[in-house]
Amino acid sequence: MLYKVAFIGDSGVGKTSLIKAFLGEDIKKVSTTIGVDFYHIRKQGCEIVVWDFAGQKWFREIIIDFLKGAALVVMVFDLSRPSTLINLLKSWLHYVLSISGDKTMVIVVGNKKDIKTIPDEFIEEILYQISQKVNFKMYLQTSALLKENVSNLFQAIFEVVKLLHVIMNEKGKEEINVPSRNF
């Protein structure tokens, strides 16, 4: 089965860079995403289509409907720009709730670990609030530039998708509510 994984978050936080870093592509050539990009990834017996959403506000209203049907949403922020973290809670979470619903499985990623400025306790507080509203699976800090934790992020994505696959096989295609689990 093919699973849809959506990457969302403000423009310039590094969503495309994370995907390209995982695919072994040169991230220096990454430019702003126009609308939405798709990546078909087959690994470890899993097949996923990653939907890489543009972060720019101009595109948001046009493309955000495409979030519907996402098995997993990866919310990315920039560890050096606090507003990108706040916008996860103020803006992006609202889209996830209204389009995908509160049962949506969510992974939060703080990218640009190499230039991190936001204190951990501030991040924890926001993560706590996100976890109260969706099916929050985990939080990871990454650096696409240094390729740090990128493979762990995708490993976690595949784990969640595999778990979802097992549950879907057991329950059929009815309502999905996957219990939280540590990775």
Partner: protein, 284 residues
Amino acid sequence: MCHLGIFDVQFMCPICLKNVRIRVKAADTGEIRRVAIRHLDHVIIVSYDDRGLVRSLDAIRISHQSCDMVDRCPQCGKEICFSFPNENICEQAIVHSDHVVIIYSIRRRYFLEAIELVNEDKEEGYENIVSRICERTSIDYMAYILYKALIEEDKIIFVPKDIVDMLNDLFSKITELKRIVFLPSDTDIEYPTTTAFFKEVVKKLLKLPNQDVITRLNQTVLMLKKLVKMLAKSLREGKINMVCEVFVSINNRDLKETLLLLLREKISNQLYDVLNESCRGLEK
């Protein structure tokens, strides 16, 4: 526009909807740089990339100094006083001479950040070519022109005489489209009014400065072309269900219609009929 590492960046303030132009230092390759601009009771934090493209705009209200909490500015060390508002999560700004201190707070946790303050460039007026075309015709007509240009790339389009030059000028800058030539027509031009998606795009463009209009138009054209190309490719590969799911997920009826119209030009009638039928089945 970029001269020797200096960019002219234009955008519309998300609070007072005023056009703003600033002259800023280019960001390093791959870097997102931020500067602050002071408006009446708020500051705008502009994030832009190494190409001078505005990635995000955040408007933050200027805080009235009060003394619930005292700390020091991370840039100049000056004492700052602020209070925790009732809101769960809050951003406040305090303007110092050449920088702005942003206070990010969630419940009673907070942290401070200093961002360089730049002045607005007020030398020249702003013009908006789309708004001028709409004044002489209508928003509906401009939307129709956009739609027609996308469908009929690389062709000649006849339009009213008094907007020929403006359209040729505008479309010469929409580099994502193949060259379109606009020629004057002596007769009245009739046009359909079914291009609601483009009407919304035109409405959003009306207040932007020209530089922004060109960027947004190029991005919109590129996005639609990319989506249609992806959908057409998937259909040819037999992934009809995937394409149907994309269409079913689109709540915006106008966007759905526009994509279908554009897709119709790229695939066979037979494939289009199969798509229509499958989508109807999925919607049920």
